[in-house]
């Protein structure tokens, strides 16, 4: 059958339907409209309401922690509290003897004690080695949350502590002991080269160098991570979870529990804020094991402190910029080195590293560019996905650098940007030809709207309407 979709024209939908079905169909009022280039979608400016707005407002939306199942136990996880150590002794007997405690597990009870969205470098519960203070070292299932919390204090763990690697620049040095020895501390690297930076720097009127750092940021979703595990009579596991990526999570749960994916069902409901922080499993294998051991449903909800030290965070990045410009402020060459602090585990570091490296030149036409990025392990809370995957960090770097250069050259910061922005057909750092580029128009419109260079505006005077 031959159908061609012309842009901006209607396709005979009725004919399409008739051709693909056996029984005659009542013609449906379907219009298939192709995309129209350079035209605004009709959705803009329309008012709509969320389908879940009603239950949200009534307090009837059920988040994971709102599920209570008959016979359900509450799980709590004991955190290491030390950044780098060898576990020398684990004694759970006193906790196990407490009335109301039904089961206690440690790292040795996890069938395959490693997972991760890319590198499988994260233990479900630390066994033998602790890589950061938020590592779980034991878990308790009890009849109430309070008893589970009390039982954590009865678990005795002895450590042989090591000097932790905390500074990413220290971690980058080859002589620094490996956080995950024998693996190297540098676990991801990307290099982008375009043009000839030596030539670009040689032709520059001035060369500016600057270094910027960003800090670790936690997503702080208002809803803490939560999951609820139940096994059925046929040995199938159902987990209600706040997971954002349920299929990926299912693969990791299958791996860690040593059962086929077909035996696992993940149910994710409305999530109370994710922002990238709920893209991988946290407590799921732990409660899966506890539910198996006890034969009862088990729920685990993170405390707010656990959100900070036991879930992923945004990568801190150390950014070194070197930029050569003409007298008029046109960038001729740029060299960037990024060092991402990956924390204890890889998580989504590879994605973040790639994005940060590709975007670190900014939305500017730079013919001669070298951008190199490293991500290193440290004995800190792991870093992972968070809105923008590295883009916000480098934006802070290149825009701060731009302001400093504009000031030093005596050029208006807006003008300095307009002289360098990407245009229609410009090549990106990875030499991709760019289309629908409206950086200049966007900047000019923004400047007009918030009154750039208008007396009193943009000076922290509350110029916004």
């Amino acid at each position: 059958m031959e159908t061609t979709t012309k842009t901006g024209t209607l396709v005979e939908a009725e004919e399409l339907l008739r051709a693909r079905t056996h029984s005659p169909l009542v013609p449906l009022p379907i219009e298939v409209r192709g995309p129209e280039p350079n035209r605004q979608t009709p959705a803009v400016g329309q008012r709509t309401t969320r389908p879940d707005a009603r239950t949200h407002g009534l307090g009837q939306t059920k988040y994971i922690d709102d599920f209570y199942v008959p016979g359900m136990l509450y799980a709590k996880i004991k955190r290491a509290g030390v950044a780098s150590a060898r576990i020398t002794k684990v004694d759970t007997s006193e906790a196990e003897a407490m009335p109301g405690v039904v089961a206690v597990i440690t790292g040795k009870d996890i069938p395959v004690n490693s997972f991760g969205p890319s590198l499988k470098d994260q233990p479900v519960l630390a066994h033998e080695r602790v890589f950061h203070a938020g590592d779980g070292v034991a878990a308790v299932a009890a009849v109430t949350e309070q008893i589970a919390a009390d039982a954590l204090e009865k678990i005795k763990i002895e450590y042989e502590e090591f000097a932790p690697v905390l500074d990413p620049l220290e971690s980058l040095k080859l002589e620094t002991p490996g956080v995950h020895a024998p693996s190297a501390n540098i676990y991801g690297h990307k290099l982008i080269k375009k043009g000839d930076i030596e030539k670009g720097f040689a032709e520059s009127y001035r060369i500016f160098e600057a270094s910027f750092r960003t800090q670790m940021v936690e997503h702080v979703p208002l809803e803490p991570h939560s999951s609820l595990a139940q096994w059925d009579a046929n040995g199938r596991l159902t987990i209600h979870s706040t997971l954002g990526r349920i299929t990926l999570g299912r693969a990791d749960i299958a791996r860690t529990l040593g059962i086929p994916m077909s035996r696992i069902r993940i149910i994710a409901t409305v999530v109370g804020g994710n922002f990238g922080g709920k893209n991988e499993i946290t407590t799921e294998p732990v409660i899966g094991m506890l539910a198996k051991k006890t034969g009862r449903p088990v729920k685990c909800t993170f405390t707010r402190p656990e959100e900070f030290y036991a879930s992923t965070t945004r990568h801190p990045i150390i950014m070194d910029y070197k930029t050569g410009v003409t007298k008029e402020g046109k960038i001729l060459a740029r060299k960037v080195r990024l060092v991402l602090d990956g924390g204890a585990y890889c998580s989504w570091s590879e994605t973040t590293l790639g994005k940060a490296c590709i975007l670190c030149a900014g939305p500017y036409e730079i013919e001669n560019l070298v951008a190199e990025a490293f991500v290193v392990y440290t004995n800190k809370t792991m870093t992972g996905a968070m809105r923008g995957f590295g883009a916000p960090q480098v934006c802070f770097g290149y825009e701060s650098h731009m302001d400093d250069m504009a000031k030093a050259l005596g050029i208006d910061p807006l003008e300095m940007r307009l002289r360098n922005v990407l245009k229609e057909g410009s090549l990106s750092p990875t030499s991709q030809a760019l289309h629908s580029v409206v950086v200049k128009e966007s900047l000019l419109q923004a400047a007009k709207r918030f009154g750039w260079n208008v007396q009193g505006a943009g000076q922290g005077q509350g110029a916004l309407p």
């Binding site: 009603r54 949200h56 307090g59 209570y68 208002l222 809803e223 409305v270 109370g272 405390t303 707010r304």
Partner: protein
Amino acid sequence: MVRVSLTVNGEKRDAEVPPETTLLRMLREAFNLTGAKLGCDVGDCGACTVIVDGKLVNSCLMLAGQVDGRDVLTIEGLATADNLHPIQKVFEEKGSLQCGFCGPGVILSAKWLLDQNPDPSVPDIRDALSGNLCRCTGYTKMIEAIQTIARERTV
């Protein structure tokens, strides 16, 4: 164990709970009222906001034993699906809630405000919502919604 008798959303309720039980846990676990959420458990986020004898309360900071003989209003007591409270209606129309987790607390804070002050200024609204965190950053539309309700009511 502590025996508690109270009024919840107009109904007489009784519970027997361990003395360390918070009002929030009693509402959620003894009465199956899960509209009030546990966000931080230390009184910072306001997701557990309820109204006790006309006062806004972080239910995670109040012990169950403290509400004996008192009157508690939770989000479930505010309205039904086909008979919405004006705040819920306008919040829905304005898209004031995204993930919705802070919603029950915010709506109760807004109700409390409008009960006290039928024509609040923007600073009054900001002040009333200062105990309710939203991480989807939807404050602007919440403030707009509360202003709209106040205007509609005063006309």
